[in-house]
C-alpha cells in the first residue's frame, strides 16, 4: 500500500494550479478497471478530483513525456515522480532534453508497484482490487474474493528496487528514502554462469517472441531520438519483416547498446513488453559491466555526470580481456 494517499496528491496539485505555480498536471488517470491507469494531462481541479489515481498500478514513468509537454506552453508543468522516475528525469536533463525551469516536480514515495501480469495470473475475471496494508484483495467475477500477499505480486523491478531516494524534486510528499543495496544483478549473473549454448538458447527463446511492436523503445526515457534508425528507410536497418533469425537480435542489441551509460534501469521496457521478454536483463548486463570494468556508475544519480561510454582512461582493459573477465564474475 502506498504511504501517501490519492487525496494528498489531488490537494497538492489543485493548490498549485490555483495559485498559478503550474498550468497543468501530469499524473495518472483512473480507467475502466482498478489496474487500468493511463498517463494524462490534467488542467483543472475538477478533473483532478474526479480522475486522478495513485495506487499500486501507477508504474508509468512521466519523465519522457516532459520533452513534449514542456514545449506546449509557457506555463510550468507539475509532474509527480517516484524515486526511480527521478533518475530518468536527471538523465534527460543531462542530455538537455527539456527545460528544468518549466517543470515543477513533486516527489512521491513509492512502496513498489504491482505487476499486472502477475495479478492476472493469480486471478481470473477481476472485478476489483483493493489494498489492505501488505495484502491485496481481488474481487473476482466468478470465484469470490481472493486475498494475496502484496509482496508476491510486486513487479520484478520493484522487488529489486535500486533506490527509494528522490534524486530530483522541488517538493517532497512524505519522507525520502535511501539508495538501496539491491540484488538486481543476480539474474544477470545467473545467465553469465550458463554455458554459451544455454545462454544462446535462453535468449533465442526470449527474443524470438518479439513482435517488433517497438513498445520497449517508445516507452524508454533514454530513447529520445527524433528519428530512430529502425524507422528510417534510408538507414539500411529499418525492416518491418520480423520473425527472422536475425532481426530481433539486431534490434535488441542495438537498442540496449544505444542507451549504454544512459539507461537508469527504470524497467519500463520490461513492463510494457506484450510478450513479457525480460528486456531489462540486456540493459542491466551493460550496467553491470560498466560497474565492473570502469567503476560504479548510476545514470541519473546526478545531473551533468559523464557516462563511461563517452569517457576513457589510458589504462582501460582490452575488449577481449573484458569478455574473459565475465567468466570470473559469473
Amino acid at each position: 500500500m502506498q504511504e501517501i494517499t490519492r487525496n494528498a496528491l489531488v490537494e497538492k496539485a489543485s493548490a498549485l494550479l490555483a495559485d498559478g505555480t503550474v498550468g497543468r498536471v501530469l499524473a495518472w488517470k483512473r480507467g475502466e478497471f482498478d489496474y487500468d491507469v493511463t498517463p494524462a494531462v490534467f488542467q483543472t481541479a475538477e478533473e483532478l478530483a474526479r480522475d486522478l489515481v495513485w495506487n499500486d498500478f501507477c508504474g508509468a514513468n512521466f519523465s519522457k513525456y516532459l520533452i513534449k509537454e514542456t514545449e506546449k506552453s509557457d506555463e510550468k508543468v507539475l509532474v509527480f515522480l517516484k524515486p526511480c522516475d527521478t533518475y530518468s528525469f536527471n538523465q534527460l536533463l543531462t542530455e538537455h532534453r527539456f527545460n528544468r525551469e518549466k517543470v515543477y516536480v513533486i516527489g512521491v514515495p513509492c512502496a513498489g508497484m504491482l505487476d499486472v501480469e502477475k495479478v492476472k495470473k493469480s486471478a481470473e475475471g477481476i472485478a476489483s482490487i483493493t489494498e489492505d496494508s501488505d495484502k491485496i484483495v481481488i474481487e473476482t467475477l466468478f470465484d469470490g474474493a481472493l486475498t494475496l500477499d502484496r509482496a508476491s505480486l510486486l513487479a520484478e523491478r520493484c522487488i529489486n528496487c535500486k533506490s527509494k531516494k528522490h534524486t530530483a524534486y522541488d517538493e517532497l510528499l512524505g519522507e525520502d528514502g535511501e539508495v538501496l543495496d539491491s540484488a538486481r544483478f543476480d539474474e544477470v549473473a545467473a545467465i553469465e554462469a550458463m554455458t554459451p549454448d544455454e545462454r544462446f538458447a535462453f535468449w533465442q527463446n526470449e527474443l524470438s517472441r518479439c513482435i517488433r511492436c517497438n513498445a520497449c523503445r517508445n516507452v524508454c526515457p533514454a530513447c529520445t531520438c527524433e528519428k530512430c534508425v529502425f524507422d528510417n528507410p534510408a538507414s539500411g536497418l529499418e525492416n518491418k519483416a520480423a520473425s527472422d533469425s536475425f532481426e530481433e537480435k539486431m534490434f535488441h542489441i542495438i537498442r540496449a547498446f544505444h542507451v549504454v551509460g544512459r539507461c537508469t534501469d527504470c524497467g519500463e521496457c520490461s513492463r510494457v513488453c506484450p510478450q513479457q521478454i525480460p528486456l531489462h536483463l540486456l540493459n542491466r548486463k551493460f550496467i553491470k559491466d560498466i560497474d565492473n570494468f570502469y567503476g560504479e556508475y548510476q545514470a541519473g544519480a546526478e545531473v551533468g555526470s559523464r557516462a563511461p561510454i563517452v569517457d576513457y582512461t589510458t589504462e582501460d582493459l582490452e575488449p577481449n580481456e573484458a569478455v574473459e573477465r565475465g567468466d570470473d564474475n559469473a
Binding site: 544477470v188 545467465i191 553469465e192 550458463m194 554459451p196 549454448d197 544455454e198 545462454r199 544462446f200 538458447a201 535462453f202 535468449w203 533465442q204 534508425v229 539500411g236 536497418l237 527472422d244 533469425s245 536475425f246 532481426e247 537480435k249 539486431m250 542489441i253 542495438i254 540496449a256 547498446f257 549504454v260 540486456l282 548486463k285 551493460f286 559491466d289 560498466i290 570494468f293 570502469y294 563511461p308 561510454i309 563517452v310 569517457d311 576513457y312 582512461t313 589510458t314 582501460d316 582493459l317 582490452e318 575488449p319 577481449n320 580481456e321 573484458a322 569478455v323 565475465g326
Partner: protein, 144 residues
C-alpha cells in the same frame, strides 16, 4: 574424392592511419595471410558502429576483427580509447547472448607492423575456421 576445405569469411575493419597501412606493409613485404580476410577501411577504429559488426555477421561473415592504432597513437588523439570501451561492452554483450566470443576481436596494429598484421590475420582466420560457420548471428534470408 576431393573434400572442399571450409574457408571462413572474415571482415576486418582497419583504421586508415595505422592498421590499413600495416596491411599495405604486409603486402609489400610479401607476408602471406588468407585471402578470406576482406578489409574495410575506416577513418578511425572508433568509426565502427556496432551495427556494422552485426551487419557483417548478417551478410555472411564468420568473424569480425577491428584493427586500430595502438592506444596513445590515435591520429585523432583518443578515437581508439573510445573504441576500446565500446567494443569491450559490445563483445561482452555478444558473449552474454551466447555468441561465440572468438568470432570478434580487437587488435592494435601500427603502420610499421606488417608482420603483426599478417600474423594476427593468420591466427584469427584459423581460430574462426575452427569454430566453423557463424550460425548464431546469421540471417537465413542471406544464405545462398
Amino acid at each position: 574424392m576431393q573434400v572442399t576445405e571450409y574457408k571462413p569469411l572474415i571482415v576486418a575493419f582497419c583504421c586508415n592511419w595505422c592498421s590499413y597501412a600495416g596491411a599495405d606493409l604486409a603486402g609489400n613485404n610479401r607476408l602471406a595471410y588468407p585471402a578470406d580476410v576482406k578489409i574495410i577501411r575506416v577513418p578511425c577504429s572508433c568509426r565502427v558502429n556496432p551495427t556494422f559488426i552485426l551487419r557483417a555477421f548478417q551478410r555472411g561473415a564468420d568473424g569480425v576483427i577491428i584493427c586500430g592504432c595502438h592506444p596513445g597513437d590515435c591520429h585523432y588523439t583518443s578515437g581508439n580509447y573510445y573504441t576500446r570501451r565500446r567494443m569491450a561492452l559490445l563483445f561482452s554483450m555478444l558473449d552474454y547472448l551466447g555468441i561465440e566470443r572468438e568470432r570478434t576481436r580487437v587488435e592494435w596494429v601500427s603502420a610499421a607492423e606488417g608482420a603483426k598484421f599478417a600474423a594476427t590475420m593468420n591466427d584469427f582466420v584459423s581460430t574462426v575456421a575452427a569454430l566453423g560457420e557463424n550460425k548464431r548471428l546469421e540471417d537465413l534470408r542471406c544464405k545462398k
